[in-house]
Symmetry: C2
Subunit: 204 residues, 2 copies
């Protein structure tokens, strides 16, 4: 098994590294340089035609792309501790929160990144008005998650899950591109402190 990785601040590979650290798993990794577009080079496109990282190559040559799909695969091989849930209800709830983070928060964070960040200005046409407006959507989404975290230690229930990994990597990437945590989002800030001090964060 070989994990094609990219170092921070790329949020998607970090999801897999956090997942591995939470599971206590060690997988050989190879870093590709996103700034040099190595993930778009022909030899990597032959492995993942979507040209994205991370990707997990199995010993028989099969390649699983998409951060969450890689984690699901590893969860099936190494069920403990469960990070996608155990009962049908818990699995559905964690998946629901995963999707909410991606659709309500990661999508607008990505739009800010693509359309209003200087770093991506050379990669394609930027619609800067839209990028600026997406910052408001990010702030609204953070306020919504702040409300949802009221009274909860973790996003999808009483224990740490893949949904927390998704929210942490999204919020930290947002911070890296200049989208601060709202001052009044006390629940979200407390949650962020709680999950950021886990040993996995130091290891990943």
């Amino acid at each position: 098994m070989l994990l094609y990785n990219a170092p921070d601040p790329a949020p998607n590979p970090r999801r897999v590294r956090l997942f591995l650290a939470e599971k206590g798993l060690d997988i050989p990794m190879r870093d590709l340089a996103i700034v040099e577009r190595e993930q778009k080079a022909p030899d990597f496109l032959a492995k993942n035609p979507a040209g994205q990282l991370p990707a997990l190559e199995l010993d028989d040559g099969t390649v699983i792309a998409e951060s969450v799909s890689i984690c699901r695969y590893l969860e099936a091989l190494h069920p403990d501790p469960p990070l996608f849930g155990s009962s049908p209800e818990e699995m559905a709830r964690i998946d629901m929160w995963l999707r909410r983070v991606e659709n309500m928060l990661m999508v607008p964070v990505g739009m800010v990144w693509i359309h209003s960040h200087p770093f991506t200005a050379g990669l394609g046409r930027q619609f800067t008005d839209f990028g600026e407006a997406s910052k408001e959507r990010v702030a609204k989404a953070k306020a919504w998650f702040d409300g949802q975290l009221d009274g909860s230690d973790y996003l999808a229930g009483e224990r740490y899950s893949m949904a927390d990994i998704m929210l942490l990597t999204t919020v930290d990437f947002a911070l890296w591109i200049g989208l601060d945590m709202p001052e009044d989002a006390g629940n979200l800030r407390d949650w962020h402190d709680r999950v950021s001090t886990r040993e996995s964060v130091q290891r990943a």
Copy 2:
């Protein structure tokens, strides 16, 4: 169990209806009127604070939102025929294709819908240049999926799966908002004919 549903052309509730039809399951449904914003009314927000459809209410009052999460829950209760895969590899592959459809195709289709369609003009500020540019991204994504379908009857392998349901509901919603299937996308067109003639499509 009660499924809060919205009729066509809403793509997300249709995913669940197609899934139910493929499984041969029958669940009581209640339609909400999206045009009247019933999904944003306080009594529904108490069930799904994200204010989105579909949502599945269990007999104990638990609510599972998010189309794919609802389907995962039902798959756990009714494994046959498997639509999320059986082996770890197949489950990961189907999940990977699900995510690719959502991230590469559904996101830009949604941006066209939100930012350049007359129907949504009153719901928020439209960035019409961005909406128009998103049409090009949709066309590119369709061309990519067309290439990936070369030699395959179904998106994620040899059998019909949730990934096909995701692609079908996305492509059909795109058609409804005026984004035609490219003339030269022969594989995608053949696939669309193949999955559109399934009995589930008539029943859902």
